[in-house]
Symmetry: C2
Subunit: 311 residues, 2 copies
């Protein structure tokens, strides 16, 4: 954390999540309740924390860094609301509570998602408009590509139709590149772009985001295969049931764990180069070690599971 920048901790982020979308008195009461439910049930908040840290490391002031962080969390939350719908993953629980569409109808969940998306674009624009003009168009193009038909949306569509393609590591990672990695790339690279980082530096950040993004997806896939129901806070063991891509299902648990190790290694090399250019992003080492710890936990669970099945 830089000097003079207040930490943007979980309680402040949760407060900002509610505060950045003021609910007018004229709102339809049903819509108001649905929005309050979603804004009042934040998730892990890892994305906004990271986006804020990246933004301040690249010289954005605290207000703009918060706007950007909240915008990215709104995009993320909107994608989860839609993902959970019966026509997509048909999930029952999210963030330890019943899914929004179960409480407020599918229409309610869709309208909340659109409200978050609309506000997220507005906050993104506000952040971008305050940046040096050369960075503006580049940043906006990047937002469009990551969120649109080249990025998140294509990943979601590939995910939904995965059962009908040949299930290889490449096909699985193509889905993850769209569906998971797009938002992680935005979270890490967009703040740097807005801080006028060099193309060289942004390339490093992008590669780290891809290695770790794919890595976190594999960790999720492994957990989906191994975890006890309830531990991950969402509906458990659904990938197989839904025919969704899961690298551990496609290449096996040991090979998936090996691939995750390899991605951590690849990330380490680029991280060292990035840290030499920009020591202020040393907080990224925590993200890297969290991923390593997650892998260790998963492998431990996997061993226990194997022992129990032998017993």
């Amino acid at each position: 954390m830089q000097h003079g920048i207040e930490p943007f901790d979980a309680s402040r982020i949760a407060e900002a999540l509610r505060g950045r979308l003021a609910l007018p008195a004229s709102l339809d009461p049903e819509f108001d309740s649905a929005l309050q439910h979603v804004l009042g049930n934040p998730g892990s908040l890892v994305r906004p924390r990271l986006a804020f840290q990246m933004a301040t490391a690249y010289g954005l002031d605290s207000g703009r860094a918060q706007d950007l962080a909240i915008a990215l969390e709104y995009f993320h939350t909107a994608s989860l609301l839609l993902d959970d719908l019966p026509c997509m993953d048909n999930a029952l629980e999210r963030r330890g509570a019943p899914c929004t569409h179960l409480l407020y109808g599918e229409d309610g969940a869709i309208l909340v998602a659109l409200a978050l998306i609309n506000r997220a674009y507005a906050l993104t624009w506000r952040t971008v408009a305050a940046c040096p003009p050369p960075a503006q168009q580049r940043a906006l193009d990047y937002v469009e590509r990551r969120l649109g038909i080249e990025g998140l949306l294509n990943g979601q569509s590939l995910d939904l139709h995965f059962a009908s393609v040949q299930q290889t590591r490449e096909a699985t990672e193509r889905v993850a590149m769209g569906k998971t990695v797009s938002l992680i790339r935005l979270t890490l690279a967009l703040p740097a772009m807005l801080g006028n980082a060099s193309p060289h530096e942004i390339r490093h950040i992008e590669r780290i985001a891809i290695f770790w993004g794919l890595g976190y997806q594999i960790a999720d896939d492994l957990k989906d295969m191994l975890d006890n129901p309830g531990q991950s806070g969402k509906t458990p063991a659904r990938d197989m049931l839904l025919g969704r891509p899961n690298l551990a299902a496609v290449i096996g648990i040991p090979a998936a764990a090996h691939r995750l190790t390899r991605l951590i290694d690849l990330g380490d090399r680029v991280l060292q180069r990035l840290l030499a250019l920009r020591p202020a992003v040393a907080f990224l080492e925590k993200l890297r070690s969290d991923l390593q710890l997650e892998l260790a936990r998963i492998l431990r669970n996997s061993c226990e599971l194997a022992e129990r099945s032998r017993a």
Copy 2:
């Protein structure tokens, strides 16, 4: 049409609708088909034609005027895709073809809507970024308000929950202000804002958009009550069935026709003042006379219906 500006006629708009959203080769084939279906089935295109005419009347060049016009049509089409879903209006037909969710699944319709919204924001940003800085933030705030929880989304939510409120003219028009008028306000007022029109002139445009927007909604309501199935190109006579607001159902057909006449009169007064300030918007008189003709056609149908029921 101004000198030196090529007309943006239906075939050029239809071409621009496809051209402004380039589909990458890496696209999921299902997603690609769904996008092609939607982009290849344009509606009446009244909104993009008007937005283009307004933009060129306020000095935007042809390229930016087209970007803005297409952006607004993408927002509009996205709202129809979502509106038609089973959880909202559960429609079967749109623009003379089966609804997108019937052909590509609800997931497909939602992803196409999001793709259009993402691209629409990008095109809006591109138009706004080329405008004088004082106009930029004002325009973007306006976009956010009209599309977000103060505008379109709240209208949609009120519409869906209309059956549970007291059904008065005011309640009906509150829904229309959000659901119908928001996009008409954007279509007419945003181009003028980007052309740096005075607040006074924008106020006139806003009032015209509200009078005519409410007027077109009443015309739709009357048609829903009176039309033969098939004539309006969408699933007929659904408002009553769904418990949706319909002014003709709430206050009766004669009172609704009277209200529409009154709104045309109110619009006329403001239009005269606007034309005195900005003669280049004389094309708006056509929109006004189309509304009048629509009313006449509806009243004729209504008389025929009454005669048939007496016979």
